[in-house]
């Protein structure tokens, strides 16, 4: 995986609230929820966007122009109080997400309510299985 950070490092003595990027609408919803959490405990929000680089592409050459992706993500996060936006170029987004989170991180995910298990609900289960607290918010 490769990481691209939109800001400098911050201290590690605060709770890490992680918002994995899903869709623009759901990400905004999750960021709003995360922002509410920051008022209750000393924390900082990290918005993580995974970009899968499939084989046989070289990991250095993602199939999407990163400038456009960065701009899109910034638009989504604008005014939402995310302290850091991080891009990951990865073969395996879930594995990378789990690797990048500090123990005890709070993960905020938004999902649509469906009668089947959504991708976001699946992600919730994976994060919980790895010892992270997950706040799942449903969109109306």
């Amino acid at each position: 995986m490769v990481v691209q950070s939109e800001s400098t490092m911050v201290g590690t003595d605060v709770v890490d609230i992680v918002v994995p990027y899903t869709t623009p609408r759901l990400t905004r919803l999750a960021l709003r929820e995360a922002e509410e959490l920051t008022t209750k405990l000393p924390s900082r929000i990290r918005l993580l966007r995974m970009l899968t680089v499939p084989y046989p592409l070289d990991l250095r050459y993602p199939p999407i122009a990163l400038d456009i992706l960065r701009e899109q993500t910034r638009q989504v996060a604008r005014g939402m109080g995310a302290a850091e936006i991080v891009f990951f170029l990865t073969r395996d987004p879930e594995e990378t997400l789990l690797k990048t989170m500090r123990p005890g991180s709070i993960v905020v995910i938004a999902s649509k309510k469906r009668w089947w298990r959504t991708a976001q609900e699946r992600l919730q289960r994976i994060c919980e299985r790895h010892g992270h607290q997950v706040a799942l918010v449903y969109s109306r």
Partner: protein
Amino acid sequence: MTLGSSRGVTKVVVATTVMLSFISFWRAAAIVLSDLASSAYYVGGIAESAIGKSAPWFILGIMLFSYAVRAIYIESCSMFVRGGVYKVVHEALGGTLAKFSVSALMFDYVLTGPISGVSAGLYFAGLINEGAEYLHFTNVHVNPEYFAAGFAIVVTVYFWRQNIIGIHESSEKALRIMQITTVMVVILIVWCLITIFRMPQGPYPIPFPSRETIKFGSDALGWIPQHIARTFTVVAILIGLGHSLLAMSGEESLAQVNREIASPKLKNLERAGFVIFIYSMVFTSLVSFFAVWIMPDAERAKYLNNLIGGLSMFLVGPVSIRLLFHAFVVLVGTLILSGAVNTAIIGSNGVMNRVAEDGVLPDWFRHPHSRFGTTSRIINLIVLLQIVTILISRGDVIMLGEAYAFGVVWSFAMKALAVLVLRFKMPGAREWKVPLNFHIGKTEIPVGLGLIALALLSLAIINVLTKKVATISGLSFTIVFFVIFQLSEKYNKRRASAHREELEKFRLVAADDVSAKSVNIRPGSVLVAVRNPNSLSHLQKTLEKTDTRKIDIAVLAVRNVTQAGSGEHSLDTEQLFTSSETELFSKVVYLAEKAGKHVELIVVPGVDPNLVGVQTAQQLQASRIVAGVSAKMGPAEQGRRVGEAWEKLPSPRPTLSLEIVDPVTGKSTYFNLGPHPPQLWPEDIDLVHNLWLELDEATKGAKLRHRDVIGVALRLLETKLHSPERELLIQEALREAEGAHGDMPSGVTERLTDSD
């Protein structure tokens, strides 16, 4: 090139690049196999329609030969971590032939999509027709070829959309697909063996290839006259092999995954290659053997387009169960073949992007999609070519197979030729060689490599002569692409002439300080100091002997700043991470990738590199600093200076060891910095023992230990050092240091030499 750099002032830069995660040889094998194993679905039928019933022997021959081809890939990967066809051919044979190879590779990619999509469609059509027959739906029957062409177009359009949007599946999916495929293969093999065992007349015979048993199909000889093929057995065998070599298409993927294979890289590459060889040989060749052993000739002829589907219907057991298994075969086939359609789009997009970056294709193609940011123009071009190919073929998988073989065999042949040329052009610069090398004087004769290259070139030439459609279409395609590449390169000549060594892209994170947390390494790490990109043997040695699962490696470059520059005004990341650091760290990344081990990269500004080194080691809680021998001074002087720097560290000063590696001999000299148990000379140990014996005798029953003797001696020494005898004592210490045990640098408490 820097990415995402911050404009803020900074004191430390932590650089990261893509080489962060490495994969096991199992995963590498699964990724290659998800491409390579798909050919098992169509190669049996294609080969039999060209050369008759003896086709399984030829497929087996090709699969055994793939072991030799694998060796070529391992040798090229041992030379270039990123050793695809373009890179290797470019190094060995120059730009023109490299462009020819890429054109052939593009033809390979453009054909992979249609052949995989059409093959999946034919399997689907076969299942629909079989199912309808079983369920007595007499009016349900699809034309297999037209259905397959339609299916292939739908699949291609689906993946076109996914690629335009930029949605891709994780590598985990490849692993899952291979697991499902393995389940199917195991069931198939076991069920086929049971069927053969229960056949009353035994399996149908498979004639061993000979001039008499090879039955050439109507289009199998191309421009070769019948009488030549029938007279010369070697020619007949080569034609047969030429029609079967699709069985090893996909081997190129091995070079593409090599970069990410974990340490020990070469060993794991060999292991991955071996797993791929065994799996594909068992799956691809056994399927074609079982088909001939189990299915009667007349029936098998109906299923040449979907051989495994047909085979599943001739197994023993109730029809409903066979039909279910047939559906499973189709499901697996659809997964693996559709995956190949997607890989073909992704792969050709990647190749086109790379050549466009090299100035060999107009930049217009790389213009990103305004909404999704993907290189939609390249994707559109590739998918358009694929759809035109599907339409021209009208679902004829045999025609597609013939054409596909052109790209496959020329990619292999050019690669083999390039690796052979490199044996003479770059002798010695490789960790692994294709076996069978002999020496005449100082000249190495690569017999094994030469034979493989010769066999591949013979197969390539025989393919040109026997496959009219493939040759005409393949050559036309290759020439068109080659001309586009040539013209574009001329157009972009200024850019192309400025071709420089490939440099890594780094993401730079600015930080006020360096710590084990910010750099993401565990305490007890090894800190390797680097300065000269051409003198990194100490890093190479550290990478070789460090198990990075247990101990992290941090690589430190000290950015020299003047006393004035190190003042209150901090530096921008761009000032700290200049082109020199990019070049230096590109080499570091290359070595780390070659070893398959992860390293952390740090740039710290400073006036005194030794002081920066020990300070960084202290902050990272490193246990060892590794450096190369300085060109200006010997290891002893280097050790002394680092020792002096260590003395300047704030308390509590850490216990550190310093390793200085001689690039010529590879020998290391170790220095221990800080408090540590001393390593005593043998005569000192004797002295301690004798003193202990004497004191023990004098203090009967007091349970005196050796360490008590040393404790008393040290306290007496301390007392004397602060007495009028001080000068005498200092002189004695100097005599000791300069005497029998060599020159001991001050500031360093001990020196050990090790030859490793």
